[in-house]
Amino acid sequence: MSNLLHFSSHTLQEIALVFMATVYFMRVRWFLKWPLAKERQPATGMGDTNPKKGARYSVGKIAMPWAMESSRNKPLMYAQFVIFHLGVVAAIGLSFIIPYGPGLLKSAGLVSLIQLLTGAACIIGVFRIIRRITNPYMRAISSPDDHFSLVLLTGWFAFAFMAAPNNISSGEGVMLAYFMLTAFFLVYVPFSKISHYLYYPFTRTYLGRHFGRRGVYPLKRTPA
């Protein structure tokens, strides 16, 4: 392994991670400085729920596609969403496995799993890029950051797919690109919409507590 690859897969990643953590810390601090709206209203609803239950339901809703009309009516979109995010987990995991636990990649099964997830996520990424450009609704709501983040992630998946076997016998180009991209990704993410997962627990908990108190969450419905 060249010094450059070693630097990229170790020191560069560590610097980028520290940077990301620092910006995230600042971001959360900034967020928490905003005043939390106090809820004084007496509870409404059937008495079968409460803020805690509402919050649990709200946070867990992401894993309950049946609980939200927008995912229930578009199962393919939901499946894409799941695979895309599993691809992210796989690609992040790989960036730790290669430098700190390369032995794990001797397992052909693990390599195949990572390739399956990152490969599928990459294809979905391409589909999403096309959708964002061609669908007038998506185009209208997209910012340059949305487009760039998607392209960045899709490219990153492609390199993760190629890097998964951790094989440098035919050159280090792919590995270098993957780690450089990972480092860039880590630095860019806190400034982009990709950092949405930082807010997710907050927004979903606040909304869940609110709707739990009001007796709205968990949602009730009579299916057609």
């Binding site: 967020f31 949405h196 927004t203 709707f211 709205v216 009730k220």
Partner: protein, 456 residues
């Protein structure tokens, strides 16, 4: 247009400055967390009824407000404004444009909220944006007028106290006639009552029958209740114009009157935004913890039937019925099951509407839209999905627990020539009341009293 030193109009500057004071952490979360995934797009009735127009998409509308937040309060927007679509308002015309979005293209129905995987609550910050604009005098004329009435006269339809009292007295006479009981009363300002009953001024102005129907139900249940002479308007334009001060003042008047009368429980007649404002948001706006109980009249009526205080006969309400959930009742207060239970006790043929409960579509007249005449054509065009939903039920009557929805639905039913009627639960319950025995009893008492008087 006068401008500040940075070339921005005073009003625009005020909107930006005040935004910082109005933002809560919940709103900031909603403003920061949107990933522009588009999942909420199809949840909005404006989108569904205006295919091909992306300017109705919830995220697109939200971004008109979000850009201000990004530019002035979020450092990503300060550092890379174009990259994250941060922007500002410079002129009064910019504010007028924003007004047409926050008032004219969104009813704050929260359907996109429950369909957003990130938990973005557009309706809440859309209301905040309405409040910012109203604060600098930029709002639809109807909104300005109604808010003024509520500030000055104490109710949103400008009903004077004497007209209110006169209408109650008139309905009291009707009650006496119908029940054949000259002693039947609609008490006003009776202290120490179990129930203080508050209503929507629409009932006084356009629908006094609802006052009579409620009075009949209370009469048959032998309820110890009163209507207040002041603070009787449970509606609240503060919910629609985003003015927390107005919201707090209007709700505060109701709470103060209940306390003054030493009422045990506040019962709120059927109105979605009134129920939400008085039962839920009011204490937040008025910054007051409420010491007495309060409930929707739907729950009160249901209890009366379940406890055997009133008897109903569902054959008195022939025909087919569907139920429209008001957004405020269902999506913001969880009032979905009791109205159905009550409805099934007073009609035979109830057919569910799809989607229903918290997933129901707005009546399309919510968020104060009925008072904004300038947006009526667009409102009715955007009601297409609601009209389709109603006609798919194949019923003749749509029941709702909201006066605002009655008006919104009636307007769209007329526009789309659906030939349906709209009614409320109070009307159906009153109609289904088994009153013959009571009237017979009253007759006997009355004739005994008459003979006693004659014998003297």
């Amino acid at each position: 247009m006068s401008t500040t030193t940075n070339g921005r109009s005073y009003k625009a500057q005020k909107v930006i400055d005040r935004m910082g004071q109005k933002l809560t952490r919940q709103m900031v979360g909603s403003l920061a967390a949107c990933v522009h995934c588009g999942q909420c797009t199809d949840s909005c009735h404006y989108v569904l009824s205006n295919p091909g127009d992306p300017t109705f998409a919830p995220a697109y509308k939200a971004d008109r407000i979000r850009k201000l937040f990004k530019k002035h309060y979020d450092w990503t927007g300060k550092v890379f404004p174009k990259w994250v679509k941060a922007g500002t308002v410079q002129t009064d015309e910019d504010l007028e444009e924003l007004k047409d979005i926050v008032f004219g293209k969104c009813t704050n129905c929260r359907r996109c909220t429950i369909n957003c995987p990130m938990g973005v609550d557009l309706a809440t910050f859309n209301r905040m944006a309405r409040g910012l604009l109203c604060h600098v005098g930029i709002m639809p004329e109807g909104v300005e007028y109604v808010a003024k009435e509520q500030w000055e006269i104490g109710n949103q339809m400008g009903v004077l106290k004497e007209d209110y009292i006169e209408t109650i007295e008139w309905q009291e006479e009707e009650l006496q006639d119908e029940m054949e009981d000259p002693n039947a009363r609609i008490p006003v300002d009776k202290v120490n009552s179990e129930i203080v009953y508050v209503i929507n001024p629409r009932e006084i102005k356009h629908d006094p029958r609802s006052v009579l129907d409620a009075a009949k139900i209370f009469y048959m249940a032998g309820a110890d209740y009163t209507m207040p002479s002041e603070g009787w308007d449970m509606t609240n334009f503060g919910l629609f114009n985003g003015d927390d001060e107005l919201g707090g003042a209007v709700a505060g008047r109701v709470y103060d009157k209940v306390e003054e009368l030493n009422g045990k429980k506040l019962v709120i007649s059927e109105c979605g935004h009134g129920y939400r404002s008085t039962r839920c948001e009011g204490p937040n706006w008025a910054k007051k913890d409420i010491a007495f109980d309060s409930e929707s009249s739907v729950i009160t009526m249901l209890k009366y039937i379940k406890e055997g205080k009133i008897k109903v006969d569902k054959t008195k309400n022939p025909g087919s019925y569907t139920f429209h959930d008001s957004c405020n009742n269902a999506r913001s207060c969880g009032l979905t099951e009791e109205p159905r239970e009550l409805l099934s006790l007073v009609v035979d043929d109830f057919r569910e509407m799809y989607p229903n409960r918290a997933e129901n579509y707005c009546c399309t007249g919510g968020g104060g839209a009925m008072s904004m005449a300038e947006y009526r054509p667009s409102r009715l065009k955007s009601a297409k999905v609601k009209a389709d939903q109603l006609s798919a039920t194949g019923t003749k009557t749509v029941v709702t627990s909201c006066h605002n929805c009655v008006d919104g639905l009636t307007d769209l039913i007329g526009h789309y020539k659906l030939g349906m009627d709209v009614t409320q639960l109070v009307n159906l319950v009153a109609n289904a009341l088994v009153v013959d025995e009571k009237i017979e009893e009253n007759r006997k008492i009355h004739s005994a009293e008459t003979s006693a008087t004659a014998a003297q």
